[in-house]
């Protein structure tokens, strides 16, 4: 009775008798297995889970990622995908042969016409690479030789929540670990005093969509891989500071005692989450010292503040977050996720998008320049982009000064820089309407596979078994886009 109880409580605890009775079965099946599968005991790379965790599978090109997520989906047609045909054929109905049965959102499904709408922003070519960049992004245009513009991204989702969840977790349905959590799981932490996955958010004046903590959740992975949201202002991490009257040494004593109690409990139950908990207490204790130091922008010289724009002095802005991101990257945070909300221009696109662009243009470009001069582009991968594209036809009023565009999953543009990505190239192509991809499509799974590759991870090898099946960030798909690698 007593013994049964211990066993049912502690699945990891095995007594001597159990061990031997199971051992015989084990050796027998090993022998049988070796007959049936001749390679069973052969050395060399194993097909699944053969890789130790916390170390890259192969020498990486990038050690960390800064992901500048433009939440709401900025229009590719007013940023990086120049389509003069839309100007020539302005107002004409989108040919059915081009739309080809693409499902629409409820917002434009009722429209009886889909008039082609050109870009309100003028385009010109920039840099030695001759990249097309719109006038909304004058600073990014100046660094076009440092970045790789991918104009052939595509996704399956047509609404914000599934689309952003797809980008962040590799699945349209929520519950899977975020990309940053996978990296933390696969590569471990570079600096034991800071979380390996950090999230910073900001909001523009444009029409915005919600952000939710599930986007940086660790899903079924150990909770220590979860993204930590750093807030602007006095308390970057809530409840991190000690209450008044508690000294640091008191805190130390408290933690030592709590930890010894937790260790006893761990010996009793063998539950690994207890070890995570102990580690998290210790991490929080060290973060009390490290976080205020990293977050203190006042240490930055005037010229750097100006480089990122005056906004960078205002906590909580995108510019401040970009500067923060660089400081976090310098301090060994693996995955720094920024979100800038407000890119959902169903109407009033020219004005709203100009405003949004103003928020992010200078700071994004400044981040690239700043990373470059610090030699950090050599091992930091920067990504800029939203969750899908926008339609080439007009939503709502047909007015070049005030039009809207609906969601478009079939083709959109993002850019990447540093960390093993070829600088100064434009990859992929859409048709003259900017609606379908005609060359080098890059699916979200391919995008994930490529990022993991540059971080030294084989996306097919980084797996986690949960609820009876093995999970990957790329699920069962994804090819590394070799053409854009250095």
């Amino acid at each position: 009775m007593e013994e049964d109880k211990t066993n049912s409580e502690n699945p990891l605890k095995v007594n001597r008798r159990h061990f031997f009775s199971q051992l015989s079965v084990g050796i027998g099946s090993l022998a049988l297995g070796s007959l049936l599968i001749p390679d069973l005991f052969k050395g060399g790379p194993k097909p699944l889970a053969g890789q130790p965790l916390g170390i890259p599978h192969f020498a990486p090109k990038a050690k960390r990622v800064i992901y500048l997520f433009q939440s709401g989906a900025p229009s590719q047609l007013e940023s990086f995908d120049y389509k003069p045909t839309l100007t020539k054929r302005m107002g004409e109905d989108l040919p059915e042969s081009i739309r080809n049965g693409q499902r629409l959102t409820g917002m434009t499904a009722g429209q009886d016409k889909f008039p082609l709408m050109p870009s309100a922003a003028k385009f010109s070519q920039h840099g030695k690479s001759g990249a097309w960049v719109s006038e909304f992004f004058p600073h990014i245009a100046k660094i076009s030789d440092e970045i790789c513009i991918v104009r052939s991204m595509h996704t399956e989702a047509i609404n914000h929540d599934p689309a952003i969840t797809f980008f962040q977790t590799g699945s349209q349905q929520s519950g899977r670990p975020s990309m940053g959590s996978w990296m933390s799981y696969g590569l471990g932490s570079e600096n034991q005093n800071l979380p390996s996955f950090v999230v910073l958010t900001s909001r523009g004046k444009g029409n915005s969509q919600g952000l939710y903590s599930k986007l940086w959740s660790s899903g079924f992975l150990d909770s220590k891989h979860q993204g930590v949201l750093l807030r602007s202002g006095k308390d970057p991490v809530l409840y991190l500071n000690d209450p008044d009257g508690i000294s640091r040494s008191d805190k130390r004593h408290l933690l030592d005692h709590v930890s010894s109690l937790n260790k006893i409990h761990h010996v009793e139950t063998g539950d690994d989450e207890i070890e995570s908990r102990i580690a998290q207490y210790e991490m929080a204790y060290r973060m009390q010292m490290s976080v205020p130091d990293v977050m203190d922008i006042k240490k930055e010289p005037e010229s750097i503040i100006k480089l990122y724009g005056e906004d960078s002095q205002v906590p909580g802005t995108y510019a401040a977050n970009c500067l923060q991101a660089r400081r976090l990257a310098e301090n060994g945070v693996r995955f720094i996720q920024l979100y800038h909300q407000g890119w959902d221009q169903h109407g009033n696109l020219p004005n709203e998008m100009a405003g949004q662009a103003k928020d992010v243009d200078q700071a994004s470009a400044a981040l690239i320049l700043d990373l470059k001069q610090r030699g950090m582009l050599e091992d930091t991968l920067v990504i800029w982009g939203g969750e899908f594209g926008r339609t080439n036809y007009c939503q709502g009023n047909f007015d070049l000064k005030n039009y809207g565009r609906d969601h478009h999953p079939r083709a959109f543009s993002i850019w990447m820089a540093g960390g093993g990505i070829k600088p100064g190239i434009t990859y992929g192509e859409t048709d003259e309407f900017g609606y379908n991809i005609v060359k080098n499509p890059v699916h979200i799974n391919d995008f994930h596979a490529t990022i993991m590759n540059n971080l030294g991870l084989d996306h097919e090898q980084l797996i986690y078994k949960y609820q009876g099946r093995r999970f990957r960030l790329t699920d069962v798909a994804g090819n590394v886009v070799n053409d854009i690698l250095t």
Binding site: L36, I37, P38, D39, L40, K42, G43, G44, P45, K46, P47, Q51, I55, P56, H57, F58, A59, P60, A120, A121, K122, E135, F136, P138, H139, G188, S189, E190, N191, Q192, N193, R286, S290, S303, K306, L307, G309, E310, E330, N331, G332, N351, A354, A357, K358, D361, Q362, A365, A366, L369, K372, Q373, R374, G375, E378, G456, E460, V480, N482, D483
Partner: protein
């Protein structure tokens, strides 16, 4: 030790099987086995375990002067004969036979015939002679070798080789695409079963002409047309498919490996093509480089071994030590500023100095002691000493670090005296030295001496002014 013969038909069975075996061996080239008989050959891997155990047991008993039970010897002999005959059937599927298989076949037949000889001697009451002892010794040796050769046929020739002797030959700087890349992929994944010894599906993969010639399913490779090549078709099948290669249970090829094979075939499957012949935009070049990178970096394979426990002992909350890649002895180390800094935090790493290829000391108040330690890291390729108080005197210690590729020394006190040190770092690719005492003339000297070096002297001043003076305004719209 005379024993009563239990029944004469046992003798007849043994005699019959022996004759049949010898007949098979003599007329091997004239025999065309019917399907069902060939299928009997498949039982060879199952039955072979009996004679190994039974013969070894009998021979051991005999050698220790114990009585060998008649029944044991009988069963051992019959099983040896059956094993040899089924083995012959199985081996007949492979034509021509490789040297491994030939050795295995003749030694196996030898075992069976020796066993029969022993059986015959013992039924004729000649047990106690030295002849029997001789037979027993030879049997033990022969069983061992036959088994070993059989094992090499099924598991590959290096199955019993020590792990460290595994081929880790480095890919040359400018590899021949076929010989150093494609052949390596085939050798690692396919040739184990498609070689002169095994020849599964009648296919040999040991050279291009054999691939073009193909096997049971036609040509494995069609020059210039991966779509028509059986090899590529099978690689792309879902793993569950019967025809997928490598078969179930073996490691499938990586995506990159498949793409290399495909592209190489599409380009005509040349055996003289070299990496340097490829245009830099040619996708094959990227794939090949990736394969070269993913193998252990050449220069790193010679690094001394370092145990995980050593790394754990030396690491702390402020010193992160990581292997650059799994199974690599190369280490990357990052140091963060602890509340109370002591140079010992860094100098303690001396024990593993030779393994360090990347070292990040950014922002640490390092001085002479620490730089002396850095100088000991002879294999260093990546060094960050930016935002530190070092000056020329300390910087001079770096002069012996010839492997350095990346050096970050911005916001330090180094000046023109350091130019001489930098000139000698022949492998240096990029150097970051803004906000130092380096003068323009010093820098231009350096640029002349090392023309391929990328020197970052801060953001282009013109661009910087542009950013600093104008705030983003989209004039045309507002």
């Amino acid at each position: 030790m005379a024993q009563k013969n239990s029944s004469p038909w046992v003798d007849y069975v043994i005699f019959g099987l022996t004759v049949f075996l010898i007949f098979c061996l003599i007329f091997e080239s004239f025999i065309d086995l019917p399907g069902l008989v060939a299928w009997l050959g498949r039982w060879h891997p199952l039955i072979l375990h009996f004679p190994i155990v039974l013969l070894l047991m009998s021979a051991a008993l005999g050698l220790f002067n114990r009585m060998v039970p008649k029944l044991l010897l009988t069963v051992a002999t019959i099983s040896a004969l059956v094993t040899a005959i089924t083995g012959f059937f199985l081996g007949n599927e492979a034509v021509p036979k490789g040297s491994l298989l030939l050795w295995h076949q003749w030694m196996g037949a030898g075992v069976a015939i020796l066993a029969v000889l022993w059986y015959w001697v013992s039924t004729n009451h000649l047990q106690q002679t030295y002849l029997v002892k001789g037979i027993q010794v030879v049997l033990i040796i022969l069983v061992g070798f036959t088994g070993h050769y059989g094992g090499m046929i099924t598991h590959g020739e290096d199955f019993l080789a020590l792990p460290k002797s595994k081929k880790l030959e480095k890919i040359p700087e400018d590899p021949l695409i076929y010989e150093h890349i494609v052949y390596r992929i085939l050798d690692n994944n396919c040739i184990g079963c498609h070689n002169p010894n095994k020849k599964k599906g009648e296919l040999l993969m040991t050279d291009i002409s054999e691939l073009v010639q193909g096997g049971e399913s036609g040509p494995a490779l069609v020059l210039g047309d991966p779509g028509k090549s059986e090899l590529i078709r099978r690689l792309h099948l879902p793993v569950e498919d019967e025809e997928h290669m490598p078969p179930d249970g073996k490691k499938p090829l990586s995506e990159n490996e498949i793409q290399i094979l495909e592209r190489w075939i599409a380009m005509g499957a040349s055996d003289t093509l070299k990496l340097s012949h490829l245009d830099s935009n040619e996708p094959l070049a990227g794939m090949v480089k990736k394969m070269m990178d993913s193998g252990t970096k050449n220069s790193w394979s010679k690094l001394p071994k370092v145990a995980d426990s050593t790394l754990q002992n030396l690491a702390s909350d402020y010193v992160t030590i990581k292997r650059v890649a799994s199974n690599s002895q190369a280490l990357g180390i990052s140091v963060y500023l602890p509340p109370e800094y002591d140079p010992k935090n860094i100098t303690d790493l001396k024990r593993i100095a030779n393994n360090i290829v990347e070292l990040d000391l950014s922002g640490i108040p390092i001085g002479e002691k620490e730089m002396e330690f850095v100088a000991m890291c002879k294999n260093l390729e990546w060094l960050e000493v930016d935002r530190t108080p070092i000056k020329d005197a300390e910087f001079a210690k770096l002069s012996g670090l010839v492997h350095l590729r990346v050096l970050k020394a911005y916001e330090t006190g180094i000046g023109d005296e350091s130019v001489a040190v930098l000139k000698d770092l022949k492998n240096l690719n990029s150097l970051y030295v803004w906000e130092t005492q380096l003068s323009d003339s010093g820098l231009s000297q350096l640029m002349e001496a090392v023309p391929n070096l990328y020197i970052d002297h801060g953001i282009d001043p013109e661009l910087k002014t542009d950013f600093i003076e104008k705030d983003t305004i989209v004039d045309s719209i507002q």
